[in-house]
Symmetry: C2
Subunit: 135 residues, 2 copies
């Protein structure tokens, strides 16, 4: 299958030492209607600094770049190197003003291209979840 899909930036992530915010392109303002009803969002952005054939073909990493953590497949991590360079972060909304969303908990580089925002709907917290020790 040689198909590919086109992802367009819909905004940009900005970061200073003490603040992080999302600047959404003004043409998408209507897509924010009702977002103020949520406390948290999933933010998707592109690991643009890693968009090279070599890094897109890196399939295993030591999680959190710590050699003590076992070599792990990128699909079993949130590593910023992976075949499709999509980042996923859960963030708390601090404020929404026009097309700017101030957030807490977003560990992105300043200038990262924003590609999607989705509301966060809590999962059933009675589901028993397990994870490896490195988490």
């Amino acid at each position: 299958m040689e198909r590919s899909f086109k992802v367009i930036p819909i905004g940009v992530i900005r970061k200073t030492d003490d603040r992080t915010w999302i600047e959404i392109d003004k043409c998408y303002k209507d897509a924010l209607l009702g977002l103020e009803g949520f406390s948290h969002i999933h933010v998707m952005y592109w690991f643009h600094e890693n968009d090279t054939p070599e890094l897109r073909n890196t399939l295993q990493v030591h999680p959190r770049k710590d050699p003590v953590n076992p070599l792990t497949g990128v699909f079993a991590t949130h590593s910023p190197v992976r075949p499709n360079l999509i980042a996923l972060s859960l963030c708390r909304i601090l404020s929404i003003q026009e097309t700017t969303i101030a957030v807490d908990g977003l560990d992105a580089r300043d200038g990262s291209p924003l590609i999607d925002i989705k509301c966060y709907i809590p999962y059933d917290q009675t589901i028993p979840v397990f994870t490896p020790a490195w988490v």
Copy 2:
């Protein structure tokens, strides 16, 4: 900004009446190392049936296609129409055999192109979360 990013399919989602599984392209087998340590994964796929200019420019919907739900911006939903047609689902892993993962809780169309898998790390469940009434 006229840049765009290229997303490639890494597999496909298969579905019958009673089973759902993910077939990952064999060239990505190494990227699955350690996935068996997790109970749940985030699965990302492409809403390929909606990849038209019109649907990518639809910025507001009635959530869950229910007209009773208030008109809402797509970024405040998980709607399958949005500027970048990235779907995000949390799934329970039922089994992993070679490059096939049987999952529970994935509401995708049969044949949907898989674009990423990430481990699911539970968030701090002491965070107070709120959502709108339609959720």
